[in-house]
């Protein structure tokens, strides 16, 4: 058997000097550069390439383009395998490996083809009707149905490829590099516009590339465009969606066609988000088939595809052909077949009242032809004609998808029996076959018109453009023939949607069951729901529905067109921001120091914070517990650089802060700080932090790490939208300063050794602030404590943080100073009953957190009025309490619900929940904080902390939330 038995000896846009080797289902074949996988398979005589979705009928290549419903194969191996790939769009490369799908054990012998015999059990919507009783058997049925559903199998590996995203701007974006698109781009480019011209195929030229003579007449314009530096040509690029305000999303296949020869540094695909001032859609039209019995047999093909395989790929899809058409576009099919040496056994023209009414053969062997009446019913005895190829054409359907994405309307055009774009967005212009202009000469001039109008809309002047000469064409005509009814004695499924195995009878069933909206018919029958979105099916389908309902097609309308136009890889949509790049990692100035010390890190928003510093052989728990004891016993340092820091300046700075915080700041002296509580407008606590007055009109604010952005946005909103008359400026200085907390009874001793000012209690009192120099850096001190020990926070210009940190370590060595991480810090603040994120949870007021004393009664502040609502002071509100396990040893899980009785039957009254929990190294037992209805009024009561999902239930006693040093003696001296 010679290689490529169906390859023509000459012609085609393939490179015969090079041979490419590929496999399909394990068998080796050859092809050439310029082939698609589909053309190469046809050249090798492979007629059956897959099994259909529901009935597992053998199917062959149907089209030559992106609308392919049948030839869905798995291309590639291992992690690069891609299921459901249209063989018509795969550019052949050396070493390509492809597999058929949806068959077992093999394509030739598929057990699931039993479905075809059982077809009466599987009408549209079958799973609402069959396999329903007995109900307990349904799970078994469902498992089998799920296994059978779908076509390809997913690839259970991480995607190893790289994807890029690119933003671009242009004056005119032309979608479609065929006749109309090239002329539109040329007109706009000659007018001086910045143009992007994209096409989904590897080479521009559009449908002409599949016709005799190819796209020759367009070559001079293409050369001009390629040489114009204001024109960007993007082949292998699909515009898959049009969005608001001139946004078009493009998917560019950068290396898919290269296989193993792809340069590793290039991304596999690139997603372009283009902002275009004017959009020209020259997306062409898609040929639709005819609906008749047995119309899905392998080597029944669209007529334009037959011509394309002959002219562009030099492939014979068969040796003896019949052409079945209802329009003038298919006329040249017979001519091209004959010129290629194919015997044309018959041309069956519905315009002359003839139709194919049945087919036979596992792969096509013969067709039955009959005369039909106006309703598509066979009216005489049919005669059989032997053939191995049937070229069908039911008309051309303009591609209106992109026009429709932004709500463009459609109108029914009787002369072509299809929908064309109606009104739409002002900056989107459709031209050529995409708006129903089919004759080549008209399409070319329509492209020039559209490009010129787009340029004019931008204030440019399009110069005159000479059109290429075209051969005269047969005038356009069509006889709408939406279905050929079954002939008597010639049963056979009449497919409307090949990919989803939807037949004309399924549509009739839906109409009979009174599904009125075409959207419901679609979902009920799955018409148009495959990966091809019904590109070759939808119009036939809705026309059949219209006929059954005796309505006009325009009344039935279309289903909504949604992006993407063709499938887009999730990797392309995700772009480079996956895995560790999903969010940028934010690092403190001390990050490398922590890493070198072997610190365990924890994510806090985008930040990485050290959680603990385990010593060699030390467990995580041992480490942080040691750190707590070290801080409370002597001293420790903690990196708190992640806190939000905000500079507030201006003549009205004090007045502003008075309104922002619920506690008073009007009399805060320069050189002093204060804890500040910021509320939302509804009286709920937004954030807590410190406010240090560093000048008459200048303040340094800190916020919690996670609320830094929210707090800054809140301040900006107040200054811009609410009180624009205030002369205040705010700026985030989070990155300007590293921040170190130095805490513990010996912290003052350590500080005294490194600072160049006095730091005794008289010089630096509680909440006092001062500027000094440490390790040559000018730093600001605030004597404030989060841990409950004597402590200081040191703000350092970021670049000097490491030097200051190391200076503190050296100075603190004699006292046993050690670094402590976020875990130890959290344990200590829980020991002190200090509210943090789990308590400041968007539902709590200051009083709920035990901070009612901070709420000023003398001034207006944000949140004041709604804080005065009676419900905000209701005694039943959950308020902050402490919990300790009754048995003294069992940990109380954070998130556990508080209930009265562990044995209560649901529904159980929930009294509150545990917000924070830890083991207290200081007290030697587990402790927790919780919000409990009734709060401190229930002190000494025993409750149950229950976590049913974990099967945990702990008896706990209500105690004061400040477990350690409740009088705060250790803060002062």
């Amino acid at each position: 058997m010679s290689a490529e038995p169906f390859r023509l000896p000459s012609g085609g846009a393939i490179d015969r000097t090079r041979t490419l080797a590929f496999t399909f289902d394990g068998r080796s074949y050859t092809g050439h550069p310029g082939d698609t996988l589909a053309s190469a398979l046809l050249a090798n005589g492979v007629r059956i390439v897959g099994r259909s979705f529901k009935y597992h009928r053998p199917r062959g290549v149907f089209t030559a383009g992106p609308e392919e419903p049948n030839a869905l194969v798995r291309v590639g191996e291992g992690a690069r395998a891609e299921p459901n790939t249209r063989a018509t769009m795969v550019e052949l490369y050396d070493g390509l490996v492809a597999q058929s799908q949806n068959c077992w054990p093999s394509l030739g012998l598929d057990i699931w083809a039993l479905n075809n015999l059982l077809a009466p059990l599987f009408p549209a919507g079958f799973y609402y009707k069959t396999f329903m009783a007995p109900a307990r058997a349904w799970p078994a049925y469902e498992r089998i149905i799920r296994r059978a559903a779908g076509i390809g199998a997913h690839v259970p590996h991480a995607d190893p490829d790289r994807y890029e995203r690119r933003f671009a701007h242009c004056d005119v974006l032309v979608v479609g590099g065929g006749a109309a698109g090239i002329m539109a781009a040329t007109a706009a480019a000659r007018a001086g516009a910045d143009v992007m011209l994209i096409d989904e195929r590897d080479t521009l030229g559009g449908h002409l590339r599949g016709e005799r003579g190819g796209a020759e007449i367009l070559l001079p314009y293409l050369r001009e465009l390629a040489a114009d530096k204001n024109v960007r040509l993007l082949p292998r690029t699909t515009a898959f969606g049009v969005y608001d305000h001139g946004t078009v999303a493009l998917a560019e296949r950068v290396t898919d066609h290269l296989g193993a020869a792809a340069t590793p540094s290039l991304p596999r695909q690139r997603l372009w988000m283009v902002r275009a001032r004017e959009i020209v859609i020259a997306a062409g039209a898609i040929e639709r088939p005819l609906v008749f019995a047995g119309n899905d047999r392998p080597t029944v093909m669209l007529a334009s595809a037959v011509r394309t395989y002959i002219n562009r790929f030099a492939v014979l899809p068969g040796r003896r052909a019949v052409v079945f058409t209802n329009n003038s576009d298919a006329a040249c099919t017979a001519r091209d077949l004959t010129a290629a040496g194919v015997e044309v056994a018959a041309v069956v023209d519905a315009r002359a009242g003839q139709a194919v009414v049945a087919t036979t053969g596992r792969s096509l062997r013969a067709v039955a032809i009959s005369s039909i009446d106006d309703a598509g019913r066979p009216i005489d005895a049919s005669r059989w004609i032997d053939c191995d190829l049937l070229a069908v054409s039911g008309g051309l359907t303009p591609s209106v998808h992109l026009h429709s994405h932004t709500g463009g309307k459609l109108t029914w055009e009787e002369t072509i029996a299809a929908f064309v774009p109606g009104t739409g967005a002002a900056n989107i212009r459709v031209c050529g076959a995409a708006r129903g202009v089919f004759p080549l000469a008209d399409s070319l001039s329509d492209g020039v018109r559209a490009g010129g109008v787009a340029a004019q809309a931008l204030g440019l002047k399009p110069p005159a453009l000479d059109l290429p000469a075209c051969a005269p064409e047969e005038p356009w005509s069509i006889r709408p023939l939406w279905e050929v009814k079954s002939a008597r004695n010639m049963r056979g499924k009449r497919f409307v949607d090949l990919q989803d195995d939807v037949t004309a009878d399924d549509l009739e069933l839906a109409v009979r069951e009174n599904y009125r909206s075409i959207e419901h018919v679609k979902r009920y029958t799955t018409l148009g729901m495959g990966t091809d979105q019904g590109k070759t099916a939808n119009l036939n389908g809705l026309a059949i529905v219209a006929q059954r309902r005796a309505e006009t097609i325009a009344t039935v309308g279309t289903t909504t067109f949604r992006s993407p136009y063709t499938p887009v890889a999730l990797g392309a949509l995700a772009g480079p921001e996956t895995g560790k790049y999903f969010e940028p990692i934010r690092r403190t100035p001390l990050h490398d120091w922590h890493a070198a010390q072997g610190a365990t890190f924890v994510e806090a928003g985008q930040w990485l914070r050290p959680r603990a510093y385990p010593r060699p052989g030390e467990s995580f728990n041992a480490a942080w517990r040691r750190e707590v004891l070290s801080v409370r016993g002597t001293a420790g340092i903690c990196d708190v650089s992640t806190l939000g820091k905000i500079d507030v300046q201006g003549p009205d700075a004090t007045a502003f802060l008075e309104r922002v915080y619920c506690n008073g700041f009007a009399r805060l002296p320069v050189g002093h700080g204060r804890y500040g509580l910021m509320l939302r407008e509804d009286g709920i606590v937004l954030d807590d932090g410190t406010v240090t007055r560093i000048g008459e009109r200048q303040y340094f604010l800190t916020t919690t790490t996670s609320n830094a952005g929210r707090a800054l946005a809140h301040l900006e909103y107040l200054l811009q939208a609410v009180w624009p008359e205030l002369k205040v400026r705010v700026a985030s200085v989070t990155d300007q300063y590293g921040q170190i907390a130095l805490a513990g009874p010996r912290s003052r001793d350590v500080l005294g050794k490194v600072a160049d000012i006095a730091v005794d209690s008289a010089a630096l009192s509680f909440l006092g602030s001062a500027v000094t120099t440490i390790a040559g850096a000018r730093v600001r001190l605030l004597r404030v404590s989060y841990s409950g020990e004597l402590a200081y926070e040191i703000a350092i210009p970021a670049g000097h943080t490491v030097a200051v940190w190391e200076a503190l370590l050296v100075a603190g060595q004699e006292f046993g100073l050690a670094p402590y991480g976020a875990e130890a810090m959290a344990a200590m603040r829980i020991e002190k009953g200090h509210a943090a994120g789990a308590e400041i949870n968007g539902q709590t007021t200051p009083a709920d957190l035990g901070l009612a004393r901070l709420v000023s009664t003398k001034k207006y502040f944000v949140g004041r009025r709604l804080l005065e609502r009676p419900a905000m002071a209701d005694a039943a509100r959950p308020t902050l309490i402490g919990l300790t396990p009754v048995d003294g040893v069992t940990p109380i899980p954070a998130g556990a619900q508080l209930i009265a009785d562990a044995r209560a039957k649901p529904p159980v009254k929930m009294l509150g929940h545990v917000t924070s929990a830890t083991f207290s190294p200081t007290l030697g037992r587990p402790i927790a904080l919780a919000l409990l209805t009734g709060g401190m009024a229930r002190i000494d009561e025993t409750l149950v902390a229950a976590s049913p999902l974990d099967g945990v239930s702990v008896a706990a006693r209500v105690v004061h939330p400040v477990f350690y040093d409740p009088a705060g003696e250790r803060l002062h001296d």
Binding site: R162, A168, H169, S265, R586, G650, V728, P797, H800
Partner: protein
């Protein structure tokens, strides 16, 4: 990730400060102009370079000023100049600056920001506040094929990782 040539250099060290007007930005601009002997306007998206000094628009009535380190701190100089008439904030440690040079500079940045970086639309003297990926950035067109990028210090390493390209240290 970069298929056209681009050279990325870390700029620095730089002394940086932000100046924000309280009232009429024109007055603050005039004072800055007099001090630096340059024409500084409140017009948005404009940058001016003179020797080792760069003044960039940084928001309504706000400028970011970058300079090679000198004997005195830039923020101190400006605080003394303005007293209470403008908000001066020290940014000397808050930013990392990278210079992108070459044919591919605009293409690389176009993978991260949706602003129009075409040479005719982002030409020397233009600056813009935007984001590259998820990292806020200030872009400055210094020359036709040279764009400076300023990012917050804490994002600097993440930014270099996002670029996935070699960066020459200063």
């Amino acid at each position: 990730m970069i298929d056209t040539p681009v050279r990325i250099t870390a700029r620095g060290p730089l002394d940086i400060a932000q100046v924000a007007a309280f009232g009429d930005p024109a007055q603050t601009a005039a004072r800055l102009s007099k001090h630096f002997r340059l024409t500084i306007t409140p017009a948005p998206n404009r940058a001016i370079v003179a020797g080792d000094l760069t003044v960039l628009w940084h928001g309504p009535g706000q400028w970011l000023i970058a300079r090679a380190p000198a004997a005195t701190q830039l923020a101190d100089d400006l605080a003394e100049l303005f007293g209470e008439d403008a908000a001066v904030v020290d940014f000397s440690h808050a930013r990392a600056a990278l210079r992108f040079e070459g044919d591919g500079a605009r293409d690389v940045l176009a993978t991260g920001t949706s602003i129009d970086l075409r040479p005719a639309h982002f030409s020397p003297g233009a600056c813009a506040l935007t984001a590259l990926g998820k990292i806020d950035a200030l872009l400055h067109a210094v020359a036709p094929e040279t764009i400076d990028v300023y990012v917050a210090r804490s994002y600097a390493q993440a930014f270099v990782e996002w670029l996935d390209a070699p960066v020459i240290s200063s």
